[in-house]
């Protein structure tokens, strides 16, 4: 068998307002990460960040894409959507602030914890947003020793 580079990719399209499938990407990611010898807390952090990013696309965007690449020492995740962008980024980063629709809130989403949760669970977090869409770039490092 040919020699393969030691990284593993996951690519998923995420549809807007598809609350029912919400969590599919993070479930798939979790299944993958459990096959690696990673501390449980790291797995949890990766999955929480992934889940929140996935739900953001479902709740707020017109649809998007998540690509995840796992390396021996880190996880890189890009969540890209096609609009409408985040109006007030500073506010969006505050816990409890949400612009989720009535529909999303009725489903139990929109607690305003999405972006703060992602920031808290990743080692690198970047957000680019404009009317044409939002791109989140996230990294979780595996080697850094951390308790919580």
């Amino acid at each position: 068998m040919e020699r393969l580079a030691a990284s593993y990719r996951l690519d998923y399209d995420v549809r807007a307002r598809d609350y029912v499938s919400g969590g599919e990407v993070s479930s798939a990611l979790r299944a993958i990460l459990k096959q690696l010898s990673l501390p449980p807390d790291l797995v949890r952090r990766c999955c929480v960040a992934c889940y929140e990013a996935e739900m953001n696309i479902i709740i707020h965007s017109f649809g998007g894409h998540m690509s995840i690449e796992i390396f021996p020492d880190r996880l890189e995740m890009i969540a890209q959507d096609s609009g409408p962008g985040i109006e007030d980024l500073q506010k969006a980063m505050q816990e409890g602030y949400s612009t989720a629709s009535e529909e999303a809130r009725e489903m139990g989403f929109g607690a305003g914890m999405g972006l703060p949760n992602i920031k808290a669970n990743t080692d690198y977090f970047d957000i680019q947003t404009g009317k044409e869409g939002t791109t989140l770039t996230m990294k979780v490092l595996f080697l850094k020793k951390e308790g919580e």
């Binding site: 030691a6 990284s7 690696l36 990673l38 949890r44």
Partner: protein
């Protein structure tokens, strides 16, 4: 190797694929016409026992002869035993146990009363990771160890009612009889194999105080005809409605008296809820009761009665009983009194261990390239999840192939295609003739 109560009866196994498809842990493969259980992955939930049409999957319990080794024998009936009888009368059932060779009984429902009390105390102290996950179902605890290691810290660090009852029953018997601890035998009457395994491979304690486990079915057979003919039932029943209600799903959660608790039963449902908890979606929940069997313990694979009927009986029975358990009635002073049970001993002395059974390799780089290979192999498989290869899904076969535990020709479709290709090739070759015999080459010349 690991001990498991749930095992294969080789003679009865016909190598069909019913159990491999139903196993929630994907822990069974058919090899050499027999459904082998992978020890590292099995959680003793008993789904395979229910799925097997040939009764080849069984839960091993102890032989009745084990009783002979002890001078004083105590029966520990799980409260699910009560649900097996029509209009159950607990005193009659317990008295009947004294007629089949036991010298004493200690209701596990009483142990459940105590554990309920301690659970409330623990949760009210407020320093536990939420939601607190019940540790009473050993199959669920094993599931967490294998599939949800990040939730190990959420599991309530208290003994099961069975273990609590065994400890307290031995203490009491020692005092009563003056015998040595090792001469007193404590026998749990179990609705499932997971409890048997948890005696051999204890959870949270170094050694189990339970000396043997008999199946609820076998005990039912021995006492069923006696129960209704007991003229003077002894007043043995001491447990409250809380302890008895543990026999059915929802009973333990109700016993915590917490408004913000839920119960989930059936191993697949438990997996779904644990997945959500792992994503941090249920942090506002205080307590989760999780039972591997539908209906709770009365739905265990070693029970006799239909679990829905038994649930209803337990419900009605417990509603007629006293609300407060003896521990609840005890005053603070009494609880620390020497003569009363030492409740601190019922906390775990050992923490849970994370299992690495799901890991492909301890080297992350190697595991990542194995995952790539698994994806490559999976693309070549038909995706029917037919089970003919002996693995439950094409995905598991792909994993087994990459781990070196199976070959691609274990797949009947790949094998058939290969034979087809070979046949074509043979046919092509058969049509070829050496130039000295052939006609067409001459024309070309």
């Amino acid at each position: 190797m690991y001990y498991h109560s749930v095992t294969l009866d080789e003679e009865k196994c016909r190598g069909c694929t019913n159990c491999i498809k139903r196993c929630p842990a994907e822990a069974i493969r058919v090899r050499g016409g027999k459904a082998r259980i992978i020890d590292e992955l099995c959680i003793d939930c008993g789904e395979c026992i229910r799925a097997c049409p040939n009764h080849a999957k069984i839960a091993i319990t102890d032989s009745w002869d084990l009783m002979d080794r002890f001078q004083y024998r105590i029966a520990l009936p799980a409260p699910s035993l009560y649900g097996q009888f029509k209009n159950p009368d607990i005193n009659r059932i317990l008295t009947a146990l004294l007629q089949i060779g036991f010298d004493d009984v200690f209701e596990v429902a009483l142990g459940a009363d105590i554990i309920s009390h301690l659970t409330r105390e623990e949760i009210n102290r407020g320093d536990l990771k939420k939601p607190v996950i019940s540790s009473s179902c050993p199959a669920v605890v094993r599931l967490v160890e294998i599939r949800f290691p990040s939730l190990l810290g959420n599991v309530l660090d208290l003994c099961t009612p069975m273990e609590a009852s065994a400890m307290l029953a031995k203490d009491a018997a020692q005092k009563k009889t003056g015998l040595k601890r090792e001469d007193i035998g404590v026998f749990f009457i179990s609705p499932c194999g997971a409890k048997v395994t948890s005696v051999r491979r204890p959870i949270g304690v170094e050694n189990s105080e339970v000396d043997g486990v008999f199946s609820l079915t076998s005990v039912y057979e021995k006492i069923a005809s006696k129960v209704n003919h007991i003229e003077h039932p002894l007043p043995l029943s001491k447990a409250s409605m809380v302890g008895v209600a543990w026999a059915r799903s929802g009973g333990e959660a109700a016993g915590t008296m917490l408004e913000n608790s839920i119960y989930v039963d059936g191993i697949q449902n438990v997996i779904k809820v644990l997945e959500e908890i792992e994503l941090g979606k249920m942090e506002d929940l205080d307590f989760l009761e999780a039972m591997a069997c539908v209906g709770g313990c009365v739905g265990g694979p070693l029970t006799v009665e239909n679990n829905f009927v038994a649930q209803q009986r337990i419900k009605r029975l417990s509603e007629r009983m006293q609300r407060e358990s003896f521990v609840d009635k005890m005053t603070e002073q009494e609880l620390v009194d020497e003569d009363k049970p030492d409740l601190e001993r019922l906390r775990w002395s050992r923490s849970l261990e994370r299992s690495n059974a799901m890991e492909l390799s301890d080297d992350i780089g190697k595991a990542l390239s194995m995952m790539q290979q698994i994806d490559e192999v999976l693309k070549t498989l038909p995706g029917l999840d037919c089970g003919s290869c002996g693995a439950p899904t094409c995905k598991t076969l792909a994993e087994d192939i990459v781990k070196g535990l199976a070959t691609e020709y274990d797949c009947v479709f790949i094998l058939k295609n290969k034979i087809n290709d070979l046949a074509q090739e043979l046919n092509n070759l058969a049509g070829k003739t050496p130039p000295v015999m052939g006609q067409e080459r001459r024309k070309e010349l």
